[in-house]
Assembly symmetry: C2
Homo-oligomer: 314 residues x 2
């Protein structure tokens, strides 16, 4: 069980982990951030958050920040916000902060993260969740939160639990709206309906979300891809209302010229989260015999722009 | 009939028209170039061509260059090398140089150009052709020709003609290899097999040809799209050997980090030749009931990156 004043470890405090970690610190929680890239800067200069829910600054002394998880205390709650492209390092990075009764919450993108963490640390201690937030890291220790912000969390199997409620309360009392899901798998696919087209097209075409939805061609692509994601999970008995795609497109309209994380990764020359966001849904479609030509083409397109250089390709 | 020392007008002397026009001038032909963007510069500084078939310079006095077709002489041979995105200006730009016995050769990209010129000036005087050449305009009056170079020309209907032979002879004796086609429609589609994937993906993903063919994902996309172009023209009784896609991929390997014209147009913020290169083949597939999901998705992708700004979209 998670104690009332838990020690919280955030593994991978980039944009998402950095923002939520900073909100928890701002509200007096005992948080340790693992962020090797920004560690030195944050120790000297603290963190600056520009947020549509209120800007704030964390002075250097207020942030426990680490570049080596082995120097971190064991945590009651481990929040994993690593890029899924670093999932081969999950054991090495998470194990040092895990103790017998730690609860692990992954807020990573896409499919497959709970399974990997469950295999490494025991399925019974893993919860999953999704961050519905427009957020970018604008510099070391600097975060810009421009729209939305909701977290949805849930048990891998079964409905709401006491510990999920406790985590939701931690977030909700720290200016981060958080809901407990009845069905995490539904939630994951619900988020994929948005993530697959906008991350995929954003990275492949190097376009912001507003450019994608401003033309008939873009809307046609988004609708087509959303339809295939919805079809892909139907054999899992996950069903969405007919109006879901248009609803998600409407929610995109308030985001402005938003760069999805995958577009940012492409621009920064970083590895793209292709497998978790596009590869795994495509694999689910295939294994169930669902025909998804747009998804397959999108998968090839993002893999193609992901090749960083000739030397990196086989 | 084309006389032995014809007056030649090149309408739209960008990369392709500029290179071929310059080669004809170099070899003593009476050529008039219409190129409003480079006219002033060429009048002062002439033209510089870097070519894998030999560099050369044309001094200012040697190039007849115009920014208004109404100031050009009537031509025996009119070579049209305008971007197809300017096809709505064909009447205005070509009519001034046409006389009763002018022959018009379009070397423009994709499908539909012979038909438009035929409607405007009479189908009997129009020939079509394709330039198989890696060429970029590197500055005003400056052209870089890096690979290939062949022109293939033909009558819109019927096989080789005397006038096609005469035009081929003009080019071939000016260091531009030129073949006369037995079947122009076959030749057009043969070129589309390459142009659709490499122009489409190059523009959508902003990738050079080497990046597209260096990965399995890229080759899978290229092969898939080529297969759909080949399927699209089958109802027209145009058939290609099974080995054609691999042969074209092999020919791409010598091109290096080549930017297709459509990728250059995207980078320069110019309108993309989407309809001639992708939209018309897709329309042929549709009207004949050929299912081409990759072609449709590619069409949407390039239309999406073609939207120059919010104000330009409806």
């Amino acid at each position: 069980m998670i104690p009332d004043d838990p020690i919280i470890a955030v593994i991978g405090a980039g944009a998402v982990g950095g923002y939520y970690g900073a909100r928890l610190i701002e509200h007096g929680h005992r948080v340790h951030l693992f962020t090797p890239s920004d560690c030195g800067h944050i120790r000297k200069a603290g963190m600056r958050v520009r947020s549509r829910d209120g800007d704030f600054v964390l002075e250097p002394g207020r942030v426990n920040v680490h570049d080596d998880p082995r120097e971190m205390p064991k945590a009651d709650l481990v929040i994993v916000t690593l890029k899924t492209t670093a999932n081969h390092r999950l054991k090495e990075l998470v194990e040092p902060v895990v103790k017998a009764d730690s609860v692990i919450l992954t807020l990573q993108n896409g499919l497959g993260n709970e399974e990997i963490l469950g295999q490494l640390f025991g399925a019974e201690r893993v919860l999953g969740g999704m961050a519905f937030v427009c957020i970018n890291r604008t510099g070391p220790g600097e975060i810009s939160h421009t729209d939305h912000g909701l977290i949805r969390i849930g048990e891998v199997r079964g409905g709401p639990s006491a510990r999920a409620g406790k985590i939701a309360e931690l977030f909700s009392s720290s200016k981060v709206p958080c809901e407990v899901l009845d069905d995490l798998t539904f939630g994951r696919w619900d988020k994929l309906i948005w993530n697959v087209p906008f991350n995929g097209l954003g990275a492949a075409l190097n376009l912001t979300t507003d450019r994608i939805i401003e033309s008939e061609a873009g809307l046609s692509l988004v609708r087509g891809i959303m339809g295939e994601v919805i079809a892909a999970c139907r054999p899992l008995n996950i069903r969405f209302d007919l109006g879901v795609p248009e609803e998600k497109i409407r929610h995109t309209q308030t985001m402005g010229a938003y760069k999805t994380s995958m577009q940012v990764d492409r621009q920064m020359g970083r590895a793209l989260e292709i497998e978790a966001i596009i590869g795994k849904p495509l694999a689910v479609a295939r294994v169930n015999g669902v025909v998804t030509p747009l998804l397959k083409m999108l998968y090839d397109l993002v893999r193609l722009v992901d090749v960083p250089s000739k030397t990196a390709s086989v």
